[in-house]
């Protein structure tokens, strides 16, 4: 362990090597994954999220910045947006004006009180060292705020009010319901929607072009479908496919493999077996699916997708199965055994089909 850590040159305060400022010039040398390479650098690069982009543009023009609350599913640009905006606002002084605390940092009540307080008490001027004007406040970014305890959030309340003169807060989370009401009411709320098909395709097209990847539209369509509005996931998958394949271009099946989607004939077979009321075969099938390392929530999702549009099933049958899917999915969330839950679902399907 020691050698592992000591191995390199000591590098006190090497934060900079990970921040973008220096990455820009290192980029040529240091291979960074595409998600980072194509992370928006300015507010203009953000696609889709029009409302917040408009607001931020006004702030860049000099309008005052409110406290923000960004929420929405993973990979929709929340973190990128605020960081890009802050970079544009503060330029080189970025490091002094921003305090970023995320779920990896200790964010107990004590820390919120002390760290945030001492950060925000130093007042700041409205000109940069080079004479250009810049906003007279600092920004505290609380990323992944849904993992903060309610007590810590409550402690934040006071701090937020007291320090408004010099500090703006930006809270970021996936689930807005995890943020206590007194905080949400103090912030301008922005929902980051899952990105639309067209924007994702446009963005992916751009990346493919830059990286000289050959592809066909059907493949890209599938990639977009599979990532459900999560652009980060789409970019990661794209890059993975390209790298896994080596020199050749990417095709339809590659995407299926990296996204962990179960081939449709598996699911069809499962339905068939259930229709034959054959328990042993059903059990065998469940074991087969799990031994192929497909995960149970994915099975549930795909079964649901398949049965809903089926004309040969009655509404009663569909609703019965969907209800079971819901129950199983909830139990799986709590960590229940995938094997037993799938058996349970299988039995229900045998019963109603």
């Amino acid at each position: 362990m020691d050698a592992f850590l000591r191995g390199g040159k000591a590098s006190a305060g090497d934060e900079a090597s990970t921040s973008k400022g220096r990455k820009e010039d290192k980029k040529l040398k240091k291979p960074t994954p595409w998600v980072e390479k194509y992370r928006p650098r300015t507010v203009d690069d953000i696609v889709e999220q029009n409302e917040i982009v408009a607001t931020l543009k006004q702030c860049l023009q000099g309008a005052d910045l409110p406290h923000f609350l960004f929420y929405g599913p993973p990979g929709t640009g929340k973190t990128s947006t605020i960081i890009a905006a802050a970079r544009q606002l503060f330029g080189d002084m970025y490091k002094d004006r921003i305090l970023e605390l995320n779920a990896s940092d200790d964010r107990g009540i004590q820390v919120i009180r002390e760290k945030v307080k001492s950060f925000s008490q130093v007042s700041v001027s409205s000109v940069r060292p080079d004479g250009k004007p810049c906003p007279p406040y600092k920004i505290v970014i609380l990323d992944e705020a849904d993992s903060m305890t309610a007590a810590a959030q409550a402690a934040l309340r006071r701090t937020m009010e007291k320090e408004t003169r010099s500090t703006r807060f930006c809270l970021i989370c996936n689930y807005v319901s995890c943020i206590i009401q007194p905080l949400t009411s103090r912030c301008a709320k922005y929902r980051f929607k899952p990105l639309s098909r067209e924007t994702m395709i446009k963005r992916l097209n751009l990346i493919c072009l830059e990286e000289k990847v050959s592809y066909d539209t059907r493949t890209l369509d599938l990639l977009v479908d599979m990532s459900g509005g999560d652009l980060r996931r789409a970019i990661t998958c794209l890059q993975s496919c390209v790298r896994l394949k080596g020199e050749e271009g990417i095709v339809y099946d590659d995407i299926l493999e990296v996204t962990g989607v179960i081939p449709d004939n598996y699911i069809e077979n499962l339905l068939d077996v259930c229709r034959q009321h054959n328990y042993d075969k059903m059990e065998h099938f469940v074991e087969e699916i799990l031994s192929k390392a497909y995960c149970a929530p994915q099975v549930l999702e795909q079964i649901q997708e398949i049965i809903i549009p089926r004309p040969d099933l009655t509404d009663a049958q569909k609703s019965h199965i969907c209800e079971k899917i819901a129950v199983c999915s909830w139990r799986l969330q709590d960590g229940a055994s995938e094997y037993i839950q799938l058996l349970d679902l299988g039995c229900s399907m045998i019963e109603v089909l």
Partner: protein
């Protein structure tokens, strides 16, 4: 003398016995240094760890095989000391953070931040990043997984994570969105048989096809288990006989016997017997998921379809509540009691029908 599992562990992508195409692809992947974090998942004994080690070797050369075991100390904010075993080379470190229980977040964070703040050995600039290998990520608390999110992104240039899990259903979507997931399916029985034949050939032994097939069938897709069983068979009796007895793990036999005890008599008195047997299993650290699975499987063999459905329904309910509660034994026992009631009813109905 090392065990066969270690002795015949392949050490390059060209030598792996199955999923060859995937091996080739992984090899392509590491040619460029810009691959994302990786998440390997698959049932135990499918070969995840083998592939990860080969991958590291491709990245850093044979230096990664010089492993040291060390204890690392961490301190919680409440000044509690935690000690964790790590396995490390100059290039990577492997840790099972779930060993730290509810303090896993601290372990994961400290480790990544430390590692990210030192540069890679710059001697000949092999790679600009180090690798942190986290095993059993599906066992990490949600808190620790949350903490990984932004950290993974921030330090990606200096530190790549390789995560390893049995199933991704317990890995939060935010992490899955940040990784390339690599599915490692279990080998098929045919593939297992061919591995066994190969090993025996290298050992200079002859193994009857029938025996190899039987071992493969008993191993449930777990190659490690198949090889261990094969070696055990060799110790028990050589020359091999195609009908020779295959040793099964004690705990599995014990669970089957427990099921038979339940099926024999459905009384409160017998429930007490079963309880002590369940305690016995738990004391030996057999995972509850396995106890539930094999118990259920064995019990179901004696039920007809209608009863099966009912029993599975009950089982899925209790197995779930077990994850929400804290004392495992309550839920296991409740299941057994409920099963006894259902089964008794079923027997009475059959008798009456006759």
């Amino acid at each position: 003398m090392s065990l066969w599992v270690d002795k015949y562990r392949p050490n390059s992508f060209s030598k792996i016995d199955y999923h060859k195409e995937q091996g080739q692809r992984l090899k392509n992947l590491v040619q460029h240094g810009d691959f994302p974090h990786l998440l390997f998942y698959g049932p135990s004994g499918a070969g995840k760890k083998t592939r990860i080690m080969i991958l590291l070797r491709e990245l850093y050369g044979s230096g990664v095989e010089k492993l040291r075991m060390e204890h690392m100390n961490f301190q919680t904010p409440s000044n509690k000391k935690i000690e964790i075993m790590t396995v490390a080379s100059n290039y990577h470190i492997e840790i099972n953070a779930s060993d730290a229980g509810i303090y896993d977040r601290i372990v994961v964070m400290e480790l990544i931040k430390n590692a990210a703040q030192t540069h890679q050995l710059d001697a000949n600039e092999q790679r600009e990043f180090k690798v942190i290998l986290l095993t059993e990520v599906d066992k990490l608390t949600k808190d620790a997984q949350q903490a990984l999110r932004r950290t993974m992104e921030k330090y990606i240039a200096t530190c790549r994570l390789i995560l390893c899990a049995n199933s991704i259903s317990q890995v939060i979507p935010a992490i899955r969105s940040r990784c390339l997931s690599i599915r490692v399916p279990s080998p098929s029985n045919v593939e297992i048989v061919s591995v066994l034949l190969n090993i025996c050939k290298k050992e200079g032994l002859t193994i009857p096809m029938e025996l190899a097939t039987r071992i493969a069938e008993k191993s449930e897709g777990n190659l490690r288990r198949a090889i261990l069983t094969c070696e055990a068979c060799k110790v028990n009796q050589y020359p091999f006989d195609k009908n020779q007895k295959i040793v099964e793990p004690d705990w599995q036999n014990y669970i089957c016997e427990t099921a038979n005890v339940i099926l024999k008599e459905q009384t409160p008195q017998n429930l007490l017997n079963v309880r002590s047997r369940l305690y016995e299993l738990l004391c030996h650290g057999i995972p509850t998921e396995l106890i539930f699975k094999y118990l259920l499987k064995q019990l179901l063999t004696k039920c007809d379809m209608a009863v099966k459905r009912e029993v599975i329904q009950v089982a899925s309910d209790f197995e779930h509540s077990l994850h929400r509660g804290s004392k495992v034994i309550f839920h296991l026992e409740a299941f057994v009691a409920k099963f006894m009631a259902i089964y008794l009813q079923y027997m009475e109905d059959t008798v009456r029908a006759v």
